[in-house]
Symmetry: C2
Subunit: 236 residues, 2 copies
Amino acid sequence: MPALHIIPIEGIGEVRPDDRLGPMIINAAAAQDTPLMDHDCLVVTQKIVSKAENRLVPLDHADFTARAEIIDSESVRVLRRRGDLVISETRHGFICANAGIDLSNVDSGFAALLPVDSDRSAHRIRNSVRAEVGVDVGVVVSDTFGRPWRHGLTDVAIGVAGIAAVVDLRGGTDDRGQALRVTEVALADEIAAAAELVMGKAAGIPVAIVRGLEASWFRDGSVRELIRPAQDDLFR
Amino acid sequence: MPALHIIPIEGIGEVRPDDRLGPMIINAAAAQDTPLMDHDCLVVTQKIVSKAENRLVPLDHADFTARAEIIDSESVRVLRRRGDLVISETRHGFICANAGIDLSNVDSGFAALLPVDSDRSAHRIRNSVRAEVGVDVGVVVSDTFGRPWRHGLTDVAIGVAGIAAVVDLRGGTDDRGQALRVTEVALADEIAAAAELVMGKAAGIPVAIVRGLEASWFRDGSVRELIRPAQDDLFR
């Protein structure tokens, strides 16, 4: 079985509203001698997607009332509050802290909201790569979320194009020929987590290539596969 | 910044009680021309660790009463029950389904319990590699857990040796010079998730090498870093 390679893409530079991320990624990858290939999966951080899509809003970071108002307006339901921390559900169905609003790595006086439709953001990058260089890639838009019970943040998928979000092995057999019960793997979340290992918060690397994934995982996908229906969820 | 490589180790073969995993991994890695190197991180699935440590117990898979009794005996606290599904806290502090008891990939008539002390399991492999071939590796013992809110399973760390479980970037600055607020990254969980991308449930690959991680992340670590204190947790 071949190895998997996770290749950081450097030199993307500062992203501004209405920048086209596809060409920026293509050029930066080519400039470092790792041109994109079929069945690569690009992982692109939410931050540059939100910037390119002009999802920055003015916010005085010290104004906690204004901050709370933005969080409320970006939430459809609040699960828990403690002090300044709000755990809420976004319009996309994500449950996360502060509605995914990002204050770091943004110009002082601004906050970055989540993309309106992050699957569409991923599709836009995928389509751009196909149109510009004729290469068929998967795209995962990633963000950094906390989790209950476990300390520390991990990167997860908030948008997906051209690759499965969940790989459903239900009904397969394990290596002893026994039926496997529960084998729906959150592929896009694991890809996002893997990419984070080369991106790092402070290193200014907003994109990575994950190269060597199973060819059969590249299909139409949506981040909606990763949202657990409320009636199946014991922790709301 | 260099790429990260995730290399599956094939040919480990069937693991039996009292097998020494360190030499088995060393030999299988050497046999496929990827001998272990300093600052490699080995990811080893719980299943072979539990087998080597003789954590198999007899269980008729159709006997739901016996199954429930084992889950109870492996749990310190039950958070939720629905039908056959129990979400409970193990002695290690992990919150997971069915106390982490594993029925797949185990001989029919048996179940695999979690290692008693999975940090110690990781240390044993790390020490063995150092003693046999003089190479300094990190070790993550991984298992497959569900999560609230998000559909699909991901691999997480249940034991750690020689590498940080959480990388604490608190107090650093981002690439715009602003103070970062929340930047404790669940490194060992992201490593486990990355490794799962080459292991796959049905492929019979129980170990992977993650090569190219930051040298500074290799230090004394413990899976206890990943357990969120109950008083900080809004979802118990």
